[in-house]
Symmetry: D4
């Protein structure tokens, strides 16, 4: 914008034309279309987090194109919600892509340098929650945070959780992941003094089939200060945790 204003001062640009340009310019220049998708390269500038490719509603072609465009500009790119078959199809198009099976994610290129971040514990109640937990862990690492993974510490075997409590307390931010009745964050929330992001999963059946009971239990927790993201939203939990973890290491 200063460019435009300098031209105005220099008299080489009329004020009204400058007004028009200022309205359009700061936004238009970032619009870079990849097919029908507009990749938002300015997002990292604004929010500190680059665009991540959400693979669920996209074809292998669309995922490959978006990963390439993002990696071209940013050095590295990540796609989530890519099932095994689609991952294979993307790899056929972009052989250098790395496939993370458990997390159902793809990474292209080296991880670009990012702001430093404090450590994040990804704490997970059951085996079935692992894909969501691994998505969160992988995204947090991609965004530059050191991650500690702690699995299978559901509250039905309370000793498993208590045995690893010291470890959890060493992290600066905690992501608590659970499906079914999702009691883990409530118990954790009463034991630690760090920010706790609760991530419900759709693991369960009957009343718990879609994760709504887990979500509700996390939101209604009697332990105050638990902040919750959408069901199975590993990306959201990771981004929230990283934004917090970056604050913790500011000079």
């Amino acid at each position: 914008m200063l460019d435009v204003l300098d031209q105005v001062r220099a008299g080489t640009l009329a004020p009204d034309e400058a007004a028009r340009r200022i309205g359009a310019l700061p936004f238009a220049e970032v619009a870079h279309a990849v097919g029908t998708t507009v990749v938002d390269h300015h997002r990292e500038l604004r929010t500190g987090v680059p665009e991540l490719v959400y693979g669920a509603g996209k074809t292998a072609d669309q995922i490959a194109a978006a990963l390439r465009e993002l990696a071209r500009v940013q050095g590295g790119a990540l796609a989530t919600r890519v099932d095994a078959a689609k991952a294979a199809a993307v790899r056929a198009l972009v052989p250098e892509v790395a496939v993370h099976e458990l997390a159902r994610a793809l990474v292209l290129g080296a991880r670009p340098a990012r702001p430093p971040a404090a450590s994040i514990a990804v704490v997970c109640a059951g085996t079935s929650d692992l894909p969501v937990a691994e998505e969160a862990a992988l995204v947090a690492e991609f965004l530059g945070a050191p991650v500690m993974r702690i699995s299978d510490v559901g509250v039905a075997g309370l000793h498993r959780l208590l045995a690893r409590l010291d470890e959890i307390r060493r992290a600066d931010v905690v992501i608590g992941i659970a499906g079914m009745e999702a009691a883990l964050p409530s118990v954790l929330g009463g034991l630690i003094d760090r920010p706790l992001i609760a991530l419900p999963t759709s693991v369960g059946y009957g009343v718990a089939a879609d994760g709504l009971v887990a979500l509700g239990a996390m939101l209604a927790s009697c332990a105050p200060g638990i902040a919750v993201v959408n069901i199975d939203n590993g990306v959201g939990a990771a981004v929230a945790a990283v934004q917090i973890a970056r604050l913790a290491v500011r000079a």
Copy 2:
């Protein structure tokens, strides 16, 4: 029925008339109407549990009449869901009724002798759950079971629960009561080896306003073997616990 059949053998009753009477008799004789309400005096014979008066949808007149009729035949009677105003109105009609404020219950007459029962722990997560917990405790005692009350042991302060675990383990049956995210039964269920009845309450707000999250969390518990009753159903939890506790002391 043997009466009728004896008359048939004696020839004083025709078989077809006997058939008709047998169809009607075993049921009809217990129908004793109190106004528009039919009091079911045979219920205790069939199910081991006498009819209890559910006060919520009834007038003070109807509650008073039902308590009197039940106490007349059974020696003692109990009404639940009677708020302070209605309790006062009933007491004006039946001065000898005892009012249990916290439990919102009324008792008329001495507790009749009942089958022996093992001990029941009524374990409650928070202060706001106390009215429901007290309803459960009072009904269990009315039905003849010894009751141990343990309050304010919600999982957000895990130490409060663990500090009283030995006490809880001494009971034969446990009723676990909680509102909001209702994590208490899940934690309890992983720590004890006795039958556990989970009783959700409508304590909470937002997503938890009506107790459905608490109910869902109890049903979806990762601790297997937890059996659940309706929201705020202290009577139901007590009856279930007493039926179990009676089994435990059979000769």
Copy 3:
């Protein structure tokens, strides 16, 4: 823990190191990882019920590994929610596994000795409820309880239920199973004086498609004392019933 304390008294262990060990030890020693799954061998000690393998979210490999680890330590192991294809795949890995088709369950090894238990009636409303009923029956037997199976006694043909009432009354604990409008437990609950666990199934269509109507009807039953488990949760109903049935035969 006494070991650690003995060392402290002997002066061979410093108090602060002992404090650290005590915090970790009673829990850590039971943690035995099978791949990403932590098998909880202490669960039976705490709750009287061993870990059962929930097959729905697991691969054949994971099921096979968990069954082997559990059977190695406990002598026998059981997995539920294993469909025909997955069952075949597990059998290819562990040929000595026994496949229970109707119950969609696998059993490995002989049933270990378990505490004695009184008898359980598994009472089922319709043909379509049979897989859930059989899961409950199989699990109850695996946990050491004698089981009586009574099928197709839905209330739309009341005579079918009444004809078998004497049989049902001979059991100490009853599991009542139904889908659709699930009226069976209400009718049963008014006819028997034993603990009644109600198990809703997802059998039905339209408003009843997911079992929520059956669940709601069981929770809202006008027969007091019915305790309910999650939809299609045969394991939960069996565990609850066995914990009750064990109480009934205590010396």
Copy 4:
């Protein structure tokens, strides 16, 4: 319409004007406004059932005016959902109105002659369902059907229902009324061979608080052929039953 056509034949009316009149006339003539309310005097001609005044959303003034207008033309009129306070207010305006307290209904004038109808049994599970049951009974009688009232025959005391089954079987149409888990119609539906209208009530609490469980259970009944009306809709059940009962006595 023949009038108009006769005029066309006579040449006193142009065909296009006639076309316009025919479009408007058969409908316009029945519109008789009472304040802002349009009373539909032709409804009984079309559907066999006169307009009934639904009092819930109306003021005492509006109810009084509607009753008077309907009674003026039809000889008698009925209003439902009129609570005690509003009933008193209407009576102050129209002293000759008869107040039916339990049914929360008002009747003005003598019941006009109506087509004959077969008998209807109004069968009700519990005391709390009585206001809805009485609304149904009163409306059915107002529409000319003989009504038999049978109360407090809920399935938790099955003998109470079986004891009165012969009576119920003597009716030509049955209305089955229940709240909570609403098992009554399922049991009834398996025992009788007459049309059965199921009427759910909002009696209950927790999961059953609004009558949706009762409604769902009736719709999902395993007894085929049960037809259901809206929660607490005594008027609807009565109208459905009367339309059936009239068919049964056609010459």
Copy 5:
């Protein structure tokens, strides 16, 4: 039962043994097991409607066995909710079965003689509702009622409905079928004076995807007296309509 009572009079049977037999006999004799399914041959005696085979949760083997057993005793049998593949499989087992493709139904044997019934109009809003409509029509015919089919008369093209109103009015009972917003029964209900059974379908998407909006609209209809069955429940609508239609032709 008279047999037993005759023996008692003759002195060949002791009263107490007779009492036991009477309890069991009237019900036990109808229990005829087909594999795990108990076929209820007495249902037609009690309710006027024979057991119909619900094919959705059953294998081709189970459907074939049930059809054969029912046809053996009753002369004819009908199965619903049998998709094309399953229908072919049943036909391979029972070649004489007739497949009704649109209605997804199978009929085995000649239709047995049934009580006379008045005529039923099956009125359907849209093309997509036809399978449900045809199921209703076929079942009504199987139960002995004459059926008139009227299709594609949804209210968005009101003239289509009005053009066929005379025809509809000639039927004694009307089944109104619609998905989406299901306005057809409300409009019909204001135009006819016959019993109207409303049958919602799961046709629709978005808010209407599962038929709950259609069901709700039918239950909430401002036209009084509409009785509703479960979503897509062609069998239930047909049984209700036939029970009404039989009343209409009683001598």
Copy 6:
């Protein structure tokens, strides 16, 4: 903005300060606080519709202050959702306010000149829908559109609607209002060729108690092109209709 740019050209404002001002200025100048409320005087410039005061969550003081501030600048102001008691309290503070009882609305000052608009028909199914209908009509008139009110034309009496169809067709935009099953817009939508805004009301009980069935039915209508607003949202329907009606009279 040109002011700022002129200063830059004149050299009296540095480019970076100008950049800062441009960011803030176009928005900041419209912020005019009334107590804690920020009145948005620019809204009419941006959207063609002035801020209307939503009275439901506000005190009489807040409503009075907002009306005065809006009337001061715009010449006239309107508040909705003001019940009788609150209306009286506002009038005590601002005696010149006009109270519209049926619409539960207040108007202060003369209606300011607004862009011309074509005519709007406000068509309403039942008497109970009138308050919502009148709110819509009043707001549309306040925004400058001529309004035609047509009441009590619900589809259960189809003739009432058809009798007034010509009148409705003379309007350029139609607002169709209904509660319960809300079939009116579907029928209307098949009969007119003008934009149709559907406005559901919370009139009803049982399944229809909160207006969700009416909303769902309108959204799922088989008549394409019906656009729907929130339940009881008379303001929203009026604004949508006026924005359309203004388009229709553009030169």
Copy 7:
């Protein structure tokens, strides 16, 4: 109708026969059956919009037949919700059909002349919403309106939307399309003064899986005057927009 009336005047038709014909004729003549489907050729006369074929519940045969019949009479026809496989099958039957892949739509024949319409902006939040957006755009064009497509302007990158605001403001009617939290219409609604149709999509997962959150957010928008259609209902949004856009260009 004038034909009939002319015959009456000429005396060649008796008034009563004329009355019967007038009742049936204006509706019957448009009923032209294609197999089981009744094509409504008069719909365009009544509503300005021809029948469009909804492909979701239809076979390729039914779609082909309906397209042919509609194109035969109207010159062109359009089918929506036709997936790739079904589209290929229809093309095999009707080779001249044009397949629009992204919109999942088929067009047969040249677009018939239609009334003029003002321009419509189809504004879409994300890539995954494109199929629904393209359906809306294609239908609007088929109905004769000029369409401007604006994609990927979701509010999480506000600059993308603001950069294209001038363009959007040039349209006369705007369709705003979004899934997930669907904030786009609220932001748009505060920035433009034209009619805004909001179209929610089922894009999302967890709480947003079915589009209900998007729908709810659009209905609850704080920007007044947004009118909403059913989830994924591109056809409905297009028809609503075209009916508005036609008003805007009336002479």
Copy 8:
């Protein structure tokens, strides 16, 4: 615990008694009962946040007692959800209590020293959200964080938000508060790079009546990294924000 272990080393405590004490001691000592409420003085040690009194389900007596006990030990205490009447009653009991009307909160005593915390912006969409926003602000201040309040910046007037964006960006943590469709956090989340806690309110009507749409929209936001608390949960949002803000100022 070291005390106990020192005694063991000194030989003054037997190991088994020590084991028992260690199990009970760390938890038991904090249990200090106030009537039926157990105040948890150790909570601040464990979680960094003291117990706050939730006033909604408590009597004035209970609130007063809890505030006094907490203030006695901690120097200051805070109660939320105390309406005007209850606040007056508490003040009558504890005259030195400070009443915060808008926030519906009470504070007793001086705010105790707490760990330093970075600044928090409390950003609120509409006037009706102010009570919830003020509760969040007050609690954050009570916990020691500097708070910046920004009100009435809902997205329907986007300029109001953009005008204050620089201010918001100066905070380290942001709480975004909105009811109705709750688009504010989505827009904010795309513009800032700080942790964002979204707090839905129950402000709204129709589909938005209970805050579930606002909650859903926040959870489904297309801006990644937004963490959400329960509806109207100002306390929870404040605690989460403070725990984050403390991390940001750690040495």
